[in-house]
Amino acid sequence: MNAEGTDTRGPGERTDTRGPGGRTDARGPRRGRRIGYRMATACALAGAGLLGGCGGGGQSTLHPHSGPAHDIRTLWWWMLAVAGVVFLGAVGLLLLAWMRRRRPGLPLLGEDEGATVGLVVVFGFVIPALVLVALFVVSDLGIRTTEAPAAGSTPLTVEVTGHQWFWEIRYPGTQAVTANELHIPVRTRVNVITKTADVIHSFWVPELNRKQDMVPGLPNRLLLYADKPGVYGGQCAEFCGAQHTHMGLLVFADPPQRFRSWLANMGAARVAPGTPTERRGEAVFQASQCASCHTIRGTPARGVIGPDLTHLATRSTLAARTIPNRPGYLGGWVLDPQHIKPESKMPGFNLSGPDFQALLAYLRSLR
């Protein structure tokens, strides 16, 4: 069974993509041929929903955009085909039993007990054993693309830490820290180190790869690779408490140049407030409880309970892909986060009108 399905290259030829050199691989075009359509659909759907499909990242396992996710989908279609044959065969036998309900014995073979037991052994033992061995060889011994990459085998390593209920994202070797929106260079093997700050979470971006649990004391690694530039959706896949539901993630696969400038910006301190309103906003931020939970690099705010807000305005969504990062939503979130994301750790704030407007202007300026 060729796990690649219609792909003419055999498994042996695919192994080169995960060699220690970790070179940027260009086998993407064929796999991602529908991405334009997919992205357009995703964006249209996202636009249609209020809190919905936020940020436009698809997260269907049936629309892979990387080698590993593609392998898994191919495996799935093969398994579905074989399972379909077995299912229809067995249901066919039941239908046959119904049609022959007045006649004992088997068609052709009659009431030969030995033949009947023989058929049980063939259908129940011999055929399953052959199919299962094949499945084992192909899926458990054959497919290696979903394995964790060796440390240092990729050009880029990212560290993602799960929190109740957001994702903290760091780029080791740089000062860059962000949350909930992971940027990677397209067609580049990226080693994601998965950790947790509290309970067990699971890092899952279905269109790019399998999931990886984030277990305390057990840092793991996962390969991310995107065939095409685009936005890919992800979500926490291990129940992690009240807001497990709203622990979404977006992965942006950017052209390398754009990625580099993005990363440089993420590493920098916050853009100093330029207008009096923004300066007043920064003062409000520092004086209120905001600073005790959030960090804004370049200011005294050093809180570590909530996400790093140094470049908040560059993000497309808020509250771990729960709402779009637009002024109305941001204002609603600051005033009453418990309405949008009940039991999240952010309390609502009672600010005077001008203070509130200034705070919003400041947060909107954090590019």
Partner: protein
């Protein structure tokens, strides 16, 4: 075939009636040790919990009917979702299958007059009832368990779950485990020692093989769970560190212990269903099971191999590759005994002359859903696929086809099948078939789209979802299906309740079924059988000569055992006559022990350790008193 009792039998029957009769009225039910009455108590209790779990399921489906729905908030949803799992597994399927069906049927099928330990049996029931009420006490005070039925740490630790929710989970399930363990041991001894003379192991009805396998699995599967629960409760209430990483504990330990229990548990849930299927199929296709020996072997093998596959619940944790591959291989191996049973059922139906009456329809539905759930289960032994689809709705679809479609359908079919035996009246056939088709349709509508929604990336255990993900329409279909399913189940209840009062008289063996429970009257007398039946095949009711021997023996007063509360014991393998056992009679002590233990667990919940210890001492005294009393002589 029913054989009328000859007039000469009357004095014997009267004597047996006098010896075995229990107190009438409520007091009789509270002190009963009759396996049939205990079975009925289990039945109605488990049915009530099934209704509760069903209401929880409907709450989940109503909340997920539309995106961003606000029927319940996340806090309530998590409690409802957790309680749905706990209820259906610990308070419905297992007690219904083993407690109700096993208790009622196993002694009758093997020709015994009661379970081996009748008072322990009563104790099992009272503890089960109390543990269920204890867990539901959490629901009523608003602190139901809320970390999922799998209760992973550290989410379930004191740090992240400071309320009493998880204490209800730990203590309630430890309490429940006492009941299940006692019941399992009782079944093992009963099946090994109390079979009628002649019922050697190769003539044991296949249903009893299934219950034997289940009981053996329970005895070995529950200790790891109990250990995990005790560890967690010690962590939570005394600040110990079994699962606390900072102090050298390990949260992954919980997952191992839980799934060492949890996967055998899946087979524990489904094996009784296999057993019921092997009772219903021969009856309605009017032939013996194909490959009896292979099926018996497969039932035991499934329970055994089930202990070697637990880590396939943990493929995305990050275990070593060699570990995951080994467990994947074991997970594939276990498909084989299931496949043998599946095709043995199908070939039996194919080669017989099946009458598709209500009980057989449920079994056909079971075969179809077991195929679906089994085939999607095989996919999870493919590690990369598992790592992609685990914790999505694809898994929810898979295990509901197994646990609901495959484990519960035979229970529903069994309710129809043994209804005439238990009540003496027939159910309504056309209404029965309608209830099947409604439930079948509802099950398919509810759970099949979950495969697709999972493939489209919807994780489990979400209290809501956003529109625009491609999940909305499918979720709507699932929710509509859930209501159809509920209507089907309601129709089953309506049919049985109405038939209880209006059904036609059933007679002893209305379906010409092959096993011994059909040899006695409907409902069976307190002593089950007037004579200890003679057995020379796994299908004793089809051995007409043996049944004629029973009648002759009753006339002559042989094998009646009317000197006291007596049942014979036989040798384990060949069922050769061993000795006559003096069986204990009704007793208030099991209920008293259960009450003392309930007080212990309530006090542990409220952290009154000294009071709890006092009640434990009271319980020990009651046990001493219980055992000081000799079995009653007639």
């Amino acid at each position: 075939m029913a054989i009328a009792h000859p007039p000469a039998a009357e004095p014997h029957l009267e004597r047996l009636e006098r010896i075995w009769e229990e107190r009438p009225g409520l007091l009789g039910w509270l002190t009963t040790v009759d396996h049939k009455r205990i079975g009925l108590l289990y039945f109605f209790t488990a049915l009530a919990f099934f209704a509760a779990g069903g209401v929880e399921a409907l709450m989940i489906r109503t909340q997920l009917l539309a995106p961003n729905n606000g029927v319940v908030g996340p806090g309530t949803f998590d409690q409802v979702m957790t309680m749905h799992g706990i209820t259906m597994i610990f308070l419905f399927v297992i007690p219904m299958a083993t407690g109700a069906f096993g208790n009622y049927l196993v002694p009758l099928m093997i020709g015994a007059r009661d379970m081996a330990f009748p008072r322990l049996n009563a104790l099992s029931y009272w503890i089960f009832l109390a543990s269920g009420l204890l867990i539901y006490a959490g629901v009523f005070i608003g602190y139901a368990p809320n970390a999922g039925w799998f209760d992973y740490v550290p989410l379930a630790s004191k740090q992240f779950s400071p309320g009493p929710n998880i204490d209800f989970y730990c203590l309630g399930l430890i309490f429940n485990g006492i009941s299940t363990t006692a019941a399992a041991i009782n079944f093992i001894v009963t099946i090994f020692k109390l079979r009628a003379p002649g019922m050697s192991l190769n003539r044991l009805p296949l249903l009893c093989y299934a219950f034997l396998a289940v009981s053996l699995a329970l005895v070995f599967a529950l200790p790891p769970l109990n250990a995990a629960l005790i560890f967690l409760e010690l962590d939570r209430s005394l600040g110990m560190h079994f699962f606390d990483l900072v102090h050298g504990g390990d949260p992954v330990l919980w997952q191992h212990l839980f799934w060492i229990f949890g996967h055998p548990e899946v087979y524990i849930i489904i094996l009784p269903a296999f057993g019921i299927a092997t009772s219903i199929i021969p009856t309605f296709v009017r032939r013996r099971m194909v490959a009896y020996a292979l099926v018996a072997l497969a039932e035991v093998l499934v329970a055994f191999i089930g202990f070697g596959v637990w880590a396939h619940h943990m493929f995305s944790v990050g275990l070593a590759t060699i570990t995951t591959v080994a467990f994947a291989a074991a997970s594939l191996v276990i498909v084989i005994p299931s496949g043998i049973q599946l095709f043995a059922w199908i070939m039996t139906i194919l080669t017989g002359r099946p009458q598709f009456r209500t009980p057989l329809l449920w079994i056909v539905g079971f075969i179809v859903f077991f195929l679906l759930g089994g085939l999607s289960g095989v996919a999870f032994a493919a590690i990369p696929f598992d790592q992609q689809l685990t914790d999505t709705y694809f898994v929810v679809a898979h295990f509901h086809f197994v646990i609901f479609g495959a484990a519960v359908f035979p229970i529903l079919g069994g309710m129809y099948f043994w209804f005439p035996k238990v009540t003496g009246r027939m159910y309504h056939e056309r209404l029965g078939q309608a209830s099947f088709w409604l439930t079948f349709t509802g099950t398919g509508l509810t759970f099949f789209p979950m495969h697709i929604v999972g493939l489209l990336g919807m994780p489990r255990r979400q209290y809501t979802y956003a529109p625009g993900m491609g999940w909305t329409g499918l979720n709507l279909i699932e929710s509509i299906g859930a209501y159809v399913l509920a209507a089907g189940l309601a129709l089953v209840v309506v049919n049985l309740v109405v038939s209880l009062f209006r059904g036609a008289p059933a007679g002893d063996n209305p379906f010409a079924a092959p096993t011994l429970e059909w040899s006695t009257s409907s409902p069976p007398p307190p002593y089950n059988f007037p004579v200890i039946p003679r057995v020379s095949s796994p299908y004793p009711m089809w051995d007409v000569d043996d049944r004629l021997v029973d009648v002759r023996q009753l006339t002559e007063g042989e094998m009646v055992l009317e000197e006291g509360h007596e049942t014979p014991t036989t040798s384990v393998l060949d069922a050769d006559w061993d000795e006559v056992l003096d069986m204990p009679s009704e007793s208030p002590w099991p209920l008293a022990v259960a009450a003392a233990l309930t007080a212990v667990f309530v006090m542990l919940l409220t952290k009154q350790v000294i009071v709890a210890a006092t009640f434990a001492a009271v319980g020990a005294l009651v046990v001493a008193r219980w055992h000081a009393q000799e079995p009653q002589q007639a």
